[in-house]
């Protein structure tokens, strides 16, 4: 892809750029073509308020679906309250047999499989509600169920042929066969495109021979059906050149050659089985290719993307349960002659925990509703909700232990187990660090395309006067600190108008920095990770502000019983998020120390690497 710079006659350098070619290969494959996206998050980077997906807060279940969901909540909650024993599962480091069978009988293994194929046929919003319940009680079970249906066989649901669906979905829905998602290898984690497992087509074309090793596979030791990603040789029809591209396969243990290692000993989610899976000369029939040959990477990304809403919903449930424990302790504990919830330090902790839970929950259900409504461009929002939810859950659980003091550190109350279980959520299914890069770069690509269109317009200024004037006007207004004329006034409830204005101001600050940095770095922005991380954090703060504005507005308009409480949560969140964005963007734009800081990070790190650890000796000199 080309990079070209156009110099505009008057003052500004408008740069045309496309970010495809020089990016880490995998990221370029994941980015959406930068056209008419209705995604709010993508629009943010361009300084636009695309409200289709965010206002009003979506409500997608009809009467019948709501009624059905209500009927499911009771039995599922009851199962987890009365049958499942999370402490036992954690100690045994597997699910108790009665629990596993109970879950299968309950129908929990095929929640989103169509009912004609033996599943419960739930949509995303309904699934989210049930995932919340599981998250409230046992994350080990969440991961077992999620690894099975959220990613393990999701590929068959999304990309499977009719034959594949009819063959496999009934078995996985009943829990007769468990499924696992096999992407990660010893030398390929975040850099998934670099996997080495290979699937070589037979000369007759009837099967592939699969060889390779996968590590840290959830359900690896239990599954019979695996979604496996391996490199296949693809011959370019035109040039005859052979390239290695990833293809996705549905592999059955019964094909022979599939073995697995012992269960890994982990910090948390001990009840969930994690194991190495080895494929040794496994013959995979050609009919078991999932999606198109060579398109496996996109399949992987779609699957992970599609399952992310489940994680946010699960963690919203976990936080709800943890906050209840923290409140229960603070209400009953007396110290210094008073119940500790009367002290400011405790009050701030509890309030922050509630805010984090409210934001996560609001994002989870907005995301699932948008997916149910048929929107397909939700990648950035899904990534944001995963990053936010996993970090929020960690903070909330950690703070609950703090509130409980020594008691929180003890095994019996069960909070330490939840903290251990939560840690992995910032790592798996795309580390939060990689996802931050993705959020920033996806946003920047779209913005970059816009800038490139402007560059093209410059070549024909008379024909594109309108476009140029609009753009020039916008940039000029932002440069002198005037509002761009954007407003959320029409969609936000009047009682939230101040927070709405904060959001718009933050958006303008954010977008002008994005533009300035793109113009400065051009395609090189791809390597500016210190910058990208800060842009991602700004994007997350901004998106979360808008999500809670949407939800609280709806609650106020509809007179929900907790509407005034939601207003407080929303306003508090917006005050702090707006302040963070203001500070970060100002630092990026004009803080003279910013560049020095980045240079220091780089140098310090380099020195540590050279020394193999800390460079300084302690103050004593030895």
């Amino acid at each position: 892809m080309l990079v070209a710079a156009h110099r505009a006659k008057p003052t500004k350098a408008l740069v045309s750029l496309q970010l495809g070619g020089c990016m880490p290969g995998q990221l370029s494959e994941t980015l959406l073509p930068a056209q008419e996206s209705k995604s709010f998050a993508v629009g943010m980077f361009k300084g636009q308020l695309i409200t289709d997906q965010v206002f009003p807060y979506p409500s997608v279940l009809n009467e019948e679906q709501t009624q059905f969901l209500r009927e499911l909540v009771g039995p599922v909650a009851r199962f987890f309250e009365e049958v499942n024993d999370p402490a036992k599962n954690d100690t045994l480091e597997r699910l108790e047999e009665t629990t596993l069978q109970g879950l299968k009988d309950l129908g929990a293994f095929g929640l989103q499989v169509p009912s004609e194929l033996g599943g419960v046929g739930l949509g995303n919003t309904q699934y989210a509600r049930l995932a919340e319940i599981v998250g409230m009680h046992d994350l080990g079970v969440s991961v077992t169920l999620g690894a099975h249906q959220s990613i393990g066989f999701k590929g068959i649901l999304l990309f499977g042929t009719k034959a594949q669906k009819e063959k496999y979905l009934p078995k996985v829905a009943s829990g007769e066969a468990l499924a696992a998602f096999c992407l990660t290898e010893p030398s390929s984690g975040s850099d998934a495109a670099s996997i080495r497992s290979s699937a070589v087509p037979s000369p007759c074309g009837k099967y592939y021979t699969l060889n390779g090793s996968k590590i840290w596979i959830s359900n690896g030791g239990l599954a019979d059906i695996f979604t496996v990603f391996a490199k296949t040789p693809i011959t370019d029809a035109a040039t005859g050149a052979v390239k290695e591209k990833i293809t996705a396969f549905v592999v059955e243990r019964s094909f022979g050659g599939v073995t697995h290692g012992p269960p890994e000993k982990k910090m948390g989610i001990k009840a969930s089985n994690t194991a190495e899976v080895h494929f040794d000369g496994v013959r995979v029939p050609a009919e078991n290719v999932l999606g198109e040959v060579g398109a496996g990477f996109k399949v992987a990304v779609h699957i992970l993307n599609n399952g992310r809403f489940g994680m946010a919903a699960t963690l919203a449930g976990t936080m709800k349960a943890i906050i209840a424990k923290a409140v229960d302790y603070a209400t009953n504990r007396t110290q210094f002659g008073d119940k500790i919830h009367n002290f400011g330090l405790i009050q701030e902790k509890l309030a922050r925990m509630a805010m984090l839970q409210y934001v996560t929950e609001s994002m989870a259900y907005m995301l699932s509703a948008n997916m149910d409504r048929g929107y397909t461009d939700f990648q950035v929002e899904a990534a944001i909700s995963k990053i936010f939810g996993s970090e929020a859950a960690w903070k909330v659980t950690d703070e609950c232990i703090q509130i409980m003091g020594g008691m929180g550190f003890m095994k019996e109350p069960g909070v330490e187990r939840v903290l251990r279980d939560i840690r992995i959520f910032r790592i798996f299914e795309g580390t939060n660090d990689i996802l931050r890069l993705f959020v920033a770069l996806q946003g920047c690509t779209n913005k970059g395309k816009e800038l490139s269109e402007l560059g093209t317009a410059l070549k024909n200024p008379l024909g594109n006067a309108g476009l140029l004037l609009t753009q020039a006007g916008k940039q000029l207004r932002r440069q002198v600190g005037l509002s761009s004329g954007l407003s959320l006034g029409e969609v936000v409830h009047p009682e939230l108008s101040r927070s709405g204005k904060l959001a718009v101001t933050a958006l303008e600050q954010f977008a002008s920095v994005v533009e300035a940095k793109l113009i400065k770095h051009k395609k090189g922005i791809v390597n500016e990770q210190f910058l990208l991380q800060r842009l991602a954090d700004g994007a997350i703060d901004l998106y979360t502000m808008v999500v809670v504005l949407s939800r609280a507005s709806r609650s106020l308009s509809e007179g929900h019983p907790a509407a005034q409480h939601e207003k407080m949560l929303c306003d508090s969140w917006c005050i702090e998020a707006a302040a963070r964005i203001r500070e970060t963007m100002a630092a990026l734009q004009s803080d003279p120390h910013q560049q020095e800081l980045f240079r220091n990070f780089k140098s310090i790190s380099k020195a540590l690497v050279e020394r193999g650890g800390i460079v300084t000796t302690n103050p004593l000199g030895f």
Binding site: E71, P75, V76, R78, V83, D105, L106, V120
Partner: protein, 255 residues
């Protein structure tokens, strides 16, 4: 012998785990927005019917509930547990509050005859009013034998052997069918409704009728005068000896 047909009556009550609050006007308890579920003893009755069906002793189970539209949720739970179809005898909310065991028994008796069932199963009592009368009254109106407080039910040919939990221990009766049985706690442990069964239940039929359609007189000679919280327990008083005890009792006017 799988020709038996069973009618199971289920009641929608406030969930056992909920903290009950009395309405300020003392006409009843707060039910708005409060979690409701199937009466636990009714669950046991449904479970017993389903087990009999699984043993192929009962051919069809009809679940019935009397009350406002929300009763249909309770009927659907019974369907999810394994009942074949439901009948909702619709009674508007205001009237339902005045409905008691006699009115319900009249409805059940009519339905038992209309549906030509061989067995009527109920919970021994509801956890909201604790009346423990409906099963007995139904049997009386139908002039059928009854086995109440059942802790075990076995079919022996054309007779029903019912083991009852009574104050003195266990009593075993043999009832000629058709009969009425009410379930006690130890009869069985009800199954959890599974999600696939809830889905299947959506397809099962629920007939909605009015008590008037059955020609049942829903009038009651009882009115609720007032509903109040039980008096708060006050602390006791310790005394040293009998003289003090007599003095204290005289003091509070007890003797």
């Amino acid at each position: 012998m799988a020709e038996l047909r069973a009618l199971v009556a289920v009641k929608r009550v406030i969930d056992f785990a909920v903290k009950i609050r009395v309405k300020p006007d003392k006409t009843g308890v707060v039910t708005d927005g409060v979690k409701h579920s199937m009466n636990p003893f009714c669950e046991i009755a449904v479970e017993e019917a389903v087990r009999l069906k699984e043993k192929k002793l009962v051919k069809e189970i009809i679940a019935v509930s009397c009350g406002p539209v929300q009763c249909q949720e309770t009927i659907r739970t019974a369907l999810a547990m394994g009942a074949d179809r439901g009948i909702h005898v619709e009674v508007p909310a205001a009237e339902a509050e005045r409905m008691g065991p006699l009115q319900v028994a009249r409805v059940l008796a009519k339905l038992a005859e209309r549906e030509k069932v061989d067995l009527v199963l109920l919970g021994k009592q509801a956890i909201d009013d604790d009346c423990n009368q409906t099963g007995q009254m139904t049997a009386g109106l139908l002039d059928w034998p009854q086995g109440t407080f059942a802790s075990q039910v076995t079919l022996e040919g054309d007779k029903l052997k019912v083991e009852r939990e009574i104050d003195g221990g266990l009593e075993t009766l043999r009832l000629k069918l058709p009969a009425v049985v009410t379930a006690d706690l130890r009869l069985n442990e009800p199954r959890y409704a599974t999600l696939p069964n809830i889905m299947k239940a959506k397809k099962k039929k629920v007939e909605v009728i009015k008590a008037g359609d059955l020609g049942v007189d829903m009038s009651s000679k009882l009115t609720v005068v007032s509903v109040e919280d039980p008096p708060q327990r006050v602390a006791g008083v310790k005394v040293e000896n009998t003289e003090d005890l007599v003095a204290k009792l005289k003091e509070i006017g007890r003797i």
